[in-house]
């Protein structure tokens, strides 16, 4: 069984989760977003070289999914904290 696509999904998930953390903490949003996008392309290129096209797709999918899940979780935490605030 080829485990490269699964591993690429794992790498992408960790990267997507981390991307949200790093992007949220940045002051220069445009610069940070550009650097993060460039870094994502770099990692995707690495995955393509090491593991091929399918793995690159699973990497991007994992990154996008983790980013969105993290974003959603954070929003949900914020709204629940705000609703409980006196």
């Amino acid at each position: 069984m080829d485990i490269a696509p699964i591993g690429s999904f794992g790498l992408g998930s960790a990267w997507g989760w981390l991307t949200y953390l790093l992007a949220r903490g940045a002051r220069r949003v445009v610069l940070t977003s550009s650097v993060l996008a460039g870094a994502t392309l770099l990692l995707a290129a690495e995955v393509f070289i090491l593991a091929g096209r399918v793995s690159t797709l699973t990497f991007v999918l994992g990154a996008a999914l983790a980013f969105l899940i993290h974003l959603g979780w954070n929003k949900q935490l914020r709204s629940s904290a705000r609703s409980r605030a006196p």
Binding site: D2, L11, L42, A85
Partner: protein, 164 residues
């Protein structure tokens, strides 16, 4: 022709696969740990470091292309990174001093009078998120309450408002 090329690709042994997975797990755990204890705002050098650690030249050099080693590394990385978050969530859920808002900005219950945190101990800054609007509200409230802080607490006000 493709089958000839694929036949020439070296296959990784089980021990190598486990090694690559364990290596990825350590990297993933450590990346989450380092980011959680990061005190300053994100710098360009931080991004370069993270990309370098996750998939830098070392990864390209260690794992030959078209082998399962890279896959095992990615699976291990996932396990280490999200394993840290999972363990943290279990510890927060088990503790009476924290609730799930800890993941928002690191808030926790105020220390009782007879407890204190030694000043030399490092406090984690970013459990999950970064200070946002909720933290700002807490900061405003914390400023108003600062006069009622217990005398035994040694944590400075800035750390308390920004989280662990």
């Amino acid at each position: 022709m493709l089958s000839t090329v694929l036949a020439q690709v070296p296959q990784a042994s089980t021990l190598q696969l486990w090694g690559a997975g364990a290596f990825g797990a350590i990297i993933g755990w450590y990346v989450y740990y380092v980011n959680r204890y990061r005190k300053a705002d994100v710098q360009l050098s931080d991004l370069v470091s993270v990309v370098g650690v996750l998939g830098g030249g070392a990864i390209l050099a260690i794992f030959p292309a078209r082998t399962d080693l890279f896959g095992a590394y990615g699976i291990g990385l996932f396990a280490g990174f999200f394993g840290y978050l999972f363990v943290l969530a279990i510890l927060v859920a088990a503790s009476k001093n924290f609730d799930r808002d800890y993941f928002l900005d690191g808030r926790r219950k105020r220390l009782p009078d007879h407890y204190y945190i030694p000043a030399e101990l490092q406090q984690p800054v970013r459990p999950l998120a970064v200070p946002g609007e909720v933290s700002i509200q807490i900061q405003a409230r914390g400023t108003a309450e600062s006069s009622s802080q217990p005398a035994g607490s040694s944590r400075p006000a800035r750390q308390r408002t920004r989280g662990p």
